[in-house]
Subunit: 406 residues, 2 copies
């Protein structure tokens, strides 16, 4: 027996003035049929009233307590862009940005510069006071930075004022420790070196000629010490993989030790390659015991306040699900369909409202719910659960859980 954990990012919503939500209004015959055959409920990934990020929520859904395993966005972002992070590394998110001649920030995204591979090479590999700098861009103005060495700390302030027209603030230790002082010192030195190397870098001289802002500095934020996380296989004895279009989810899957299945055209946007993902799931579940899938588009649409696009993303997921059900061995696969958090269109951000969930597959106890939406699933047999219970329920259905007692 195998399992697919299908996460529709930002799935849940609040009723609009007509009492509708994108999920309620979407035409989803396959998901509704599954609901009829499933045990349904509502879920909070972390806890009731907790408004999670996608990162902390996905950790929770995989059974990892985010309060123990989440050390900030940096490590997950760094793993997501492909840096082989190690426990103890200090990781950050970065933007390439533009400084004017007075060293004031004039563009926090360096004109949304597209190609930063050459600039990456000017930074990656620098050593400062015995600390190795690992730097990787992620296909544009975004990048990740890792410090590797002895006596480092993530207790340092941000090198990002989150606004333009000011200088980059000096990075300061946030605690009175040798490690924090050293880390702040290394980062401040790094910023000087980066400016020296980038300001007159051929890429930037070329940009100036074209009237584009140079990417002559980096803004550093999201500090986190790379945690020690028990690998997924060791914890569950399941060979697992992840299918996702966004770096952050890829980073989470790498951090917990899930293989990553690359899908051509999986973008993490509403225009992702839905059917490519569906095919990858069908192929993947032949090889793996467990696949976590993230479809990001619904959340993206929510952040944009775009109701109709959220409906369309959900309807595309329904078509994915039709394909999956038509092409898997239904006798040997469980499918959990849920979200990581609600993202109400009106809020344009994550909320703590619970998310519909259903568990489909052989032997689950179907309830009376026959519609997969926010107004039906709460009446189902799962009642209102937390994300941390999904993996134990699945392990039990897969007949892989250990009996406690005799």
């Amino acid at each position: 027996m195998k399992a697919i954990l299908f996460i529709i990012d930002g799935l849940g919503d609040r009723p609009n003035s007509n009492g509708n939500t994108p999920l309620k209004e979407a035409d989803i015959p396959t998901l509704d049929r599954m609901a009829k055959e499933s045990i349904c409920g509502i879920m909070n990934a972390i806890d009731i009233g907790i408004r999670p990020g996608s990162d902390t929520a996905h950790l929770a859904l995989l059974g990892y307590d985010p309060y123990k395993n989440y050390t900030g966005r940096g490590p997950f972002e760094a793993a997501g862009v492909g840096i082989e992070v190690r426990p103890g590394d200090i990781a950050f998110r970065c933007n390439f940005a533009t400084l004017d001649e007075d060293l004031k920030i004039v563009d926090r995204r360096a004109g949304r510069i597209k190609n930063t591979e050459e600039l990456e090479r000017a930074i990656d590999g620098i050593e400062i006071d015995g600390v190795k700098i690992i730097f990787k861009q992620s296909g544009g103005y975004r990048a990740a930075l890792v410090l590797r060495g002895e006596e480092l700390s993530d207790k340092v302030s941000e090198g990002d004022p989150h606004k333009e027209g000011v200088e980059i603030p000096e990075i300061k230790p946030l605690e009175d420790s040798q490690e924090a002082k050293k880390t702040a010192n290394v980062l401040n030195k790094l910023l000087k070196i980066v400016y020296d190397r980038l300001n007159n870098h051929p890429v930037n001289n070329e940009r100036r000629k074209k009237g584009l802002p140079p990417a002559n500095t980096i803004l550093i934020r999201g500090a986190g010490k790379v945690p020690i996380i028990e690998p997924f296989y060791e914890r569950y004895k399941l060979k697992g993989a992840c299918i996702a279009g966004t770096g952050l989810i890829k980073g989470i899957s790498k951090m917990v030790g899930l293989d990553f299945i690359n899908v051509e055209g999986a973008t993490g946007t509403p225009n992702t390659n839905y059917m490519g993902k569906a095919k990858a799931i069908v192929e993947g579940i032949k090889k793996y015991d467990f696949i976590m899938v993230n479809v990001k588009g619904a959340d993206e649409a929510s952040h944009d306040g775009d109701y109709n696009t959220k409906v369309r993303v959900i309807e595309n997921v329904d078509k994915m699900m039709e394909y999956i059900l038509d092409n898997i061995n239904r006798e040997e696969v469980y499918i959990v369909v849920t979200g990581d958090h609600s993202s109400p269109i009106e809020v344009k951000d994550h909320s703590a409202d619970p998310i519909p969930i259903m568990i489909w597959g052989k032997g689950v106890r179907p309830d009376e719910v026959d519609k997969f939406d926010e107004f039906s699933t709460y009446k189902g047999g799962l009642c209102w659960i937390r994300g941390k219970y999904i993996m134990p329920i699945l392990l039990d259905l897969l007949n892989r859980s250990k009996k406690y007692g005799a």
Copy 2:
């Protein structure tokens, strides 16, 4: 966006021989209409099977873990009668009582003496071994006592045998510490001084002449060290106030740092000034982000086993709610209606039965519940929740909760 937490004290009940409860039988068209528009459920303030006091339950509903913040009734009672308690103070509840010539207790309430201001003045301000005695009556035979000084403890036995015909027991340290010994010693000395000052006090001589029992001692109980409680505003960044008729709830609101809105004629009994409170709520929510309201009468009626009065209190609450809904901006206020605990008429005391709850306001997901009672609300979208989740859910609806993660 703002929120009203409306607590009908002792709301829940158990079915009588006709299968009815006061809430089920009450004619409450406004509350029922709200239920239709709300997300409903049942709730235990602290946990399933826990029979709470009003004090511990209200703390829990405000998001304060009573196991960490509740140190006994004394501190909350003392704050409620208007003593400006400080962390570290040792606080007690007291009764004025009557000793006969053999120093035996003959009336634990001193004939329910009404005016004790003069007797208060005979006790308040005494100093014993460097410990300051703060003493305040609360409009009758009840009073609060606070010890302020160094090296004090709440680990002392009660100076109240809870029966008549016996002497006041010597107060003893309950642990082998200097602090407990000193505190017991101070209290025993205080009892002697109190008797000396009160026994022939003009007020008591006057009472004897009228054939009334003198209030010539105090019975001390409910010891508690005043805790350090994180102020409500610091915790939630909400400007909050409380409307209540009883000293204990007032004490809780003072301890957590809610402003107290005084309402003429709010008595904490079934004959309180309902519409005065409703008007104070409507006015208050213009100034404050959050108002906690307590209507005590339903619990009072339950303690008296008075079914019909409980029905009447609930119907009066319904009229309050009609007024409130007619006079607030419905687009900007959330209303939570619930109780602090059940108080079944037959039990004449608090019980652990869960209490109906509904959350009303913009964007909540209505469920199919259309009647606010013990037999309908459990089918709602909130399922069975704990009191500690109310504030996180409200903060999320108010768009004030911090995102955990990215």
